[in-house]
Amino acid sequence: MSGRISVDDAAFDGGARKLRSAKSGLASVQGQLNDGLAAGAPPAVSGQVRAAVASARAAVAGAQRRLETRAAELTRRAVATRVANGEGTERDYAAMLKWGPTAGPGPGRSLEDRLRALGELGLVVPDYTPGGQPVPMKDWMGGSEKLLLKWAEIWNTHTFMRKPGVKALGISRRKAVLSSQVNWANLNREIKSHQALVSKLNRFAQPLGPAGKVIDVISVVSAKGTRERTTAIGAAGGGMAGLAVGAKGGAAIGLMVGGPMGAIIGAGLGGAIGATIGGALGKKIANWKPVRAVADTISDGIDGGKKAVSSATSNVKKAWKKLF
């Protein structure tokens, strides 16, 4: 998978094991270093021995502590990398949960928390930079809360973009795992699809420039832009659907009331009224938060609207043919 984080997590695990082994090797030395080694010596010599033993004990203890810290860090990276790649085991998630209140994608946590946690873990996303250099996820995501939340929104909702040079991108709504009962397999799947989404976003974002591709894409769907775009799309979709329904209804009523001429006038009036009402409704619906968050529904609505218009147009044409 192109979005897979290519850091060699196996090397991290192996490295952590080596460091822990070195740490435990030092334990036997630590056990032998004691004040008794200065016994039997005159004060001047025993002082030197005591000082050397104390210094060696401190060096060994410090090395043990630092080796463990380093091993723990490598383990965390290995776990975080597996999780980010959608390959996390339940044990990995359990480990992440132990690391702190915001440290893991665990039950009851918001998606934002989980994303932030992944950023805190120093997750690297090497595939997403022009030079292929690893970039910490928090930097990759701009490091700002706003951007993080925006990213969560993108992940959590459908992404629909319209911009010159960028094709409309329709991806089915991704249900991020937000319930308190986390299904790890689902979470892994979500993360994988998230990675796939990023890859797709990057591909579509290429015309925006070579650097900061993902961030550029995020800026394309910034809050204001998303709202305006969704509103416009909703209005257009609603308008088209209204036009179709109104024209059809108006033509039928007009036909009954005023014959063929009435049908023509009815279709026109009905279409106009329908488009106005549909547009307004579409706008309202588009601005309704849950709907706005599900942009793909709107996308489907547009498609549906187009089909309805096409069908209504066809019906009107048929009516015309029958009438004339």
Partner: protein, 120 residues
């Protein structure tokens, strides 16, 4: 007062310390030094494979720890050597003192016997 006690008073205080225990401890210290050096090599060898900042930082830290352990082993080696040479010196001093006491006690006894023989 016995001849031995008189001789001890004449030879001064016995140099303090237990050279045998010191030598035993020096041997233990030097064996710890060997193990510490071996562990320092193990730590130095615990390098993490791979690339990236995290790996570089881990390897740099590990190398630094290995160097600190080697330095500690060196200080310990020096202390062990000092202990051993101090033990050897102390043993020499204590042997000399023992010889002094023995010689003095012998002389005192000899003089006592001679005086006894002259008196009788």
């Amino acid at each position: 007062m016995s001849f031995h006690a008189q001789a001890m008073a004449m030879c001064g205080a016995k140099p303090p310390g237990n050279p045998d225990l010191m030598i035993e401890n020096a041997g233990r210290i030097l064996s710890i030094v060997a193990e510490l050096e071996s562990q320092a090599s193990a730590v130095a060898g615990a390098k993490v494979a791979g690339a990236g900042a995290a790996v570089s930082a881990a390897n740099a830290g590990t190398a630094s720890d290995a160097a600190k352990l080697r330095s500690a082993a060196s200080a310990l080696q020096s202390a062990g050597s000092s202990l051993r040479s101090a033990a050897a010196k102390l043993k020499t001093e204590q042997d000399a003192w023992e010889r002094c006491v023995k010689t003095r006690a012998g002389q005192l006894e000899h003089e006592f016997r001679r005086a006894q023989a002259a008196g009788s």
